[in-house]
Amino acid sequence: MTTSWTSTSGVSAELWPEELGLLAGGPGRATEVAIVSLVEAGALRIARNGLASAVQGPQRQWTPLQAFVLRSVPRPLGDLVTAGARSVEAQSLRQQLISRGYVRSAGSIRGMRWVRRLFFLSWVGTVLWSALGDLPVGTVASAFVGLIVAMAITSPSVRPLTRAGRSTVRRLGAGVVTSQAVPLVAYYGLLGKVGKQYVWQILGIDPVASATLRRRRKSDGSSGSASCGSGCGSCSSSSCGSSSSSDSGSSSDSGSSSSCGGGGGCGGGGGGD
């Protein structure tokens, strides 16, 4: 694969930047990463008004999500991120992360949520039984403690990211520097903030272009599945700290989209064209 990925990621040996973006912020974030990497590679332009368009040049090999982005332009940046987040390519990326143990499937999260509901209902039953006078108070108290312990133990299993996924996002956050556009976007998203600056500002993106980006609710992940609620779900709200990042303690004000201002300005990486 000949892209700018490897030169700019420098974060995880085992995952591509798009995958890291998906872990940190969902499919919208992964699409942002694809867009920024294309701008860095000189294959995509984003005009001041946010219109993204392909740069004509020799054919190169792209990731499936990058190829989707290039097929989908010209299109306003915000629409491009939304379309990418809903694309088959982004879903495929997520499936790969599930199969590799970084993300939980929607089914497993749903199952664990049912288990937790059963725990709770059991405790409610215990309380009702106690109210009828047939159970000692100590038993109810013990059941309550048991409920708390069970909820605590099963809590990680309803998060979108596995321990490996969360650990990867933590490592991503630890290695992010503002001079590396791709990991920066993967971790924070284009609408994310580093200090007092938005990532799109750091990357030199025009405010008008950044205004085309839309913040999405945490639950607005393209998969619509429980397994992509916040962490791997499209992290697009301003406070979308992605579940994983909340675990990792990252700030992740993430956005759903982004832009790379017109080529050259995209992130320290040097000219987009």
Binding site: A47, R48, G262, G263, G271, G272
Partner: protein
Amino acid sequence: MAALGVGIGWRPEIDLTVERLDVDFVEVVAENLHADRLPESVRVLRERGVPVLPHAVSLSLGGADPVDAHRVAHLGALAQALDAPFVSDHVCFVRAGGLDSGHLMPVPRTRDALDVLVANVKAAQADLPVPLALENVAALLEWPDAELSEGRFLAELVERTDCLLLVDVANLYANARNLGTDVGRFLDEIPLERLAYVHVAGGQEHKGVYHDTHAHAVLPEVLDVLRQLRERVDPPGVLLERDDDYPSDAELAGELAAIRAVLA
């Protein structure tokens, strides 16, 4: 005529590229801009002192219908908003009988058609705050019974209206290739002292016909036509037109450098 240098067509898709390129002036498509809401990029260029020239495509000066006063007013307002030294359109018609052609259609090179063109140009000039330059178009057909060569047609147009000339060497090359226009004769016949600036663009042959696409690289043959023009006159300005399939900044810079090399 004031020197303009080497420029490029400003298009929204490549606005930041145009800002990064080393250009002396730019041209905007007049119909795509509003005088009271100029794009940020155009404002940036103007603040840098880069001349911005409005270029119209819809006046239809060669048509039998009267010139649309609203279109002329828009072009004039844009010229004033941009502080442009002149504006331009084409020697063509783009609508007739209430229908738009979607193309720049060539005008029959007859005395009657010239009379109509002259009347329309004079009407437009009367309402424009700055001089008007007119451009030769690329044609895929020639009307029958031409009474004048293209060069003579333009020369008489200039003589009767005092308009400026915008010579598109890519269009001239296309006409030479498709219709057999004699490039040397054309350049000898037009009044080069009335030259405002020059257009250069790329194209591609398709099924034996050369198309002035503005979406491909500039051919060496087009630069050769520019060279022939340069041998006769030092053009005040030369502008690279690219309207689609935009290449990298480096490639556009390379095309501008090739133009500068011809002019040197």
